[in-house]
Symmetry: C2
Subunit: 500 residues, 2 copies
């Protein structure tokens, strides 16, 4: 049986190599690739992915998994090998259910839809995009049909990003969260607004860069195991257990985007870099799910990076870096400025108090569309109605509303909720961390993040993808995903800032 | 048959994608990869190369080639399809002769030998490297034995880099070249030396970079189809017909390395970028051979970049860039300085007049070692004796002599001659170009390189690897590889500089 397990591992290692090579190609595409290289790059990534997929879904893998099924039950269920067999088997069964015809159709339709969307958005013309979006939702429903019987038509596509999580779980969580968050936003809106005008203006880009680098170095990001580059849309890319790269964007006329995006991505990177090296070149050598990943990135970005203790240490340094812009702005005013709450049209620009609302809006619409309870033609009106209901604002046009981002046109349906779930998980962990490290605030106040990282590595990172997210959270916190810690955090933080 | 040809092309396209993905990984490894990523990168490149090799040498490819053999003969022999089948068949037959056991042994032994060589070189200890080098030559002889019958034991390894070329061809060429070049070097050594001291000193690195970029932009290097980065050892990497990257090195205390290496690599890149796009994703989408490649890089580096017309245009610009260092150096003195002839210990630092001597030295030793007429234990003495005979100098130690570079430790035996053959070819082409573009010097004197590039594209680049190098040269010049044009060039150029 050990022989068969080794055979399986050898195949999985090749699949990992192919996927991580494709990841490096993707990183290059968004950082350094000359523009004319795009066509060839498309072929390369396509070929690598196809070969990886064929290897992973081969009959040989199926046979090995069958042979290993009873062996797995004899192992300690927490052992790396038992988890590897279990996770591989689960993924194998999922991937082999989907026909290659569907995969091809989906690739073709989303490539076309993406181009149509770009034009539709620039021309504020939802009607031209409608047929493509209809086709994408049709294909997504067809995808779900491969997994009949399911509890809910949305379950199979959610499961791709949050293994084991059900639509009903997410709905329950969000139903508890939404009214509280709406109430908070309303309360804030009735208070005088804070001033953040000092965050706009001319900020030297290389100084911004260096400040961000110094912060994430303090967080524990190891530069011999990663690097930071600029990209239009910041992302983290893993090309191996010892090569996890991040990207950031820096604006010449604004201070916050660059540093918070560096902190955010470093949270993702620290997670990937903390995975136990024994899991290298296996499907377990990554985070447990997108929500778990967001819990790490949002923790470093917000719970650390937008906190008062953090800025007690770093604000004098930032003032020294930008004396003419910030010399006369007090720490308290700066703190309020970077935490200003104001409903915006799009998630990526949202503050902590309104962020989840964008996610819940999208989830409700996606579910209705998947269920067939909403027609694509009625989507713009539904979008705008929800914006008013959730955030009290209405997009001036479809380009800034229903056409605002790339997800749907790329077929990315089913994972939006992970953005909000990550926030919730981050606070469940944070409350526990504060119990385990009672003087954490003092440490942060001194720019010390070693104990925090050590805790995360021990409790979260090292396990990689051995456990499903709900299972992992339960192991760590004793509870399932729970919105209450996050609401406690939001209420406490913003009551103080807005005198609620 | 068209169907079978398409099947073959589909496989070759995948092989191309895998190889060009590996090329990008290699580029990244030498430019941006964080140091700890090396282990994972080794696995990735190994996996991609293995899969590419297995695909290319599969029975399916063998069967398709068999089926297409007669079809190929019905085609116009110059057609892309006929060349593709011919070149693929040739390469297939070569690769399938070599056992996978040999490939594995060779990979393992060279990995070990490389490590041993690094230590041996740093400790100036040839004896410790001797057993590894013996093993490498044994393996290389074993490699040749797969191709019995051969004319000469060195033929099969030469053929890997110069398809179709024989050891006897190279020996004949070098036998004609060597005495003439030795004579020239002797004549120069009896003349007063030129001064090049002004090339050392502090030269701002970003100004050096910008100057190099402006020159290769004028050459016609397209930045939407390539890029330049820094690397310890400059190289050109092709990751597709529209993505050909170069690297350079810049020293803060020296002026010439950076700009000449940029010009050199841009010559390689222009070749790859000039390949007919109809050949994309086939084995023909690259240069015809290493010697043909060197003919292009050495042309831009030397025939253009170290010529008087070139500097008549660029020297005022260079003086403006470095006024304090070059303001008082005349054009004539600068020209003589960058063309100073002085025997050195290593090829990469050699001037035009002595460069080929390093190559001929290496070739003679490699042939003797392959024939068994020289023992590895006697190699240091043989090396030093040849250095005296060819260049009139003797290395102070083995580290700067027989251990000087990476080639042998990496198993790279058989291609050193291509460095010199490239020089010879560059002059054969150059004499023809000057006939076809009579006012080329005037164009260069104005910084105009469009007609030159156009000529090279039409005559050389577009064909890619459709023809073997000797065949291609004969098609263009009517002659085989011939050392006389190069000697005419050297004699004329250095007679003028050194008043011979």
């Amino acid at each position: 049986m050990q022989e068969k397990l080794n055979q399986l591992k050898a195949i999985l290692a090749e699949v990992y190599d192919l996927s991580s090579a494709a990841a490096l190609l993707g990183w290059d595409q968004q950082t350094y690739m000359p523009s004319a290289g795009a066509v060839g790059r498309g072929y390369q990534i396509g070929t690598l992915q196809k070969i990886a997929h064929n290897k992973f879904t081969s009959d040989q893998v199926g046979k090995l998994l069958e042979d290993l099924a009873t062996y797995q039950k004899q192992l300690d269920p927490d052992s790396d090998d038992a988890c590897l067999i279990r996770v591989t088997d689960r993924e194998y069964k999922k991937q082999t259910r989907v026909t290659s015809e569907w995969v091809e159709n989906f690739a073709r339709e989303t490539t076309i839809a993406h181009q149509v969307w770009e034009k539709a958005r620039s021309e504020n013309d939802f009607a031209s995009f409608k047929p493509n979006l209809e086709r994408i939702f049709e294909l997504r429903r067809e995808y779900s049909s491969f997994f009949i019987p399911y509890e809910h038509v949305y379950d199979p596509i959610l499961d791709d990003f949050e293994p084991g999580l059900k639509t009903s779980d997410v709905q329950e969580i969000f139903n508890a969260l939404r009214p509280q968050q709406v109430e908070l936003i309303k309360a804030i809106s009735e208070k005088p607004q804070v001033d953040d005008s000092f965050l706009k203006g001319a900020f030297d880009q290389s100084k911004q860069w260096d400040f961000g680098v110094s912060v994430i170095t303090d967080f524990g990001y190891e530069w011999n195991r990663g690097r930071q580059d600029r990209a239009a849309h910041p992302f983290t890319q893993t090309t191996g257990v010892d090569d996890v790269r991040i990207t950031t964007r820096i604006y010449p006329d604004e201070l916050t985007a660059g540093m918070f995006s560096s902190m955010h991505e470093s949270g993702h990177a620290l997670y990937e870099l903390g995975v136990d090296k024994a899991l290298a070149r296996t499907p377990l050598a990554t985070g447990a799910s997108l929500a778990m990943h967001e819990s790490q990135s949002r923790m470093y970005e917000n719970l650390v990076g937008r906190s008062m203790p953090f800025w007690e240490f770093y604000y004098p340094r930032l003032q020294d870096t930008f004396p003419s812009q910030l010399g006369n702005v007090s720490l308290e005013d700066f703190y309020r400025g970077i935490n200003k709450v104001e409903p915006t049209l799009i998630r990526v620009e949202a503050d902590e108090a309104t962020y989840n609302m964008h996610v819940m809006l999208r989830l409700e619409l996606e579910i209705a569309l998947m269920e067939g309870n909403l027609d694509v033609k009625d989507l713009p009106d539904a979008w705008n109605a929800k914006m008013v209901e959730f955030l009290g604002i209405i997009p001036p046009n479809d380009a800034d509303g229903v056409l605002q981002d790339v997800h749907w046109s790329s077929g990315l349906i089913g994972y939006f909720s992970t953005y909000a779930l990550g926030n919730l998980i981050s606070l469940q962990l944070w409350e526990l961390i504060q119990q385990d490290i009672p003087n954490l605030s003092d440490q942060i106040r001194k720019g010390q993040f070693g104990e925090l990282l050590d805790w995360l590595r021990r409790k979260v990172h090292r396990h990689g993808a051995k456990y499903e997210p709900q299972e992992l959270i339960k192991r760590i916190t004793g509870s399932k995903i729970d919105p209450e810690p996050y609401m406690r955090y939001l209420n406490s933080k913003f009551s103080q800032i807005y005198n609620l």
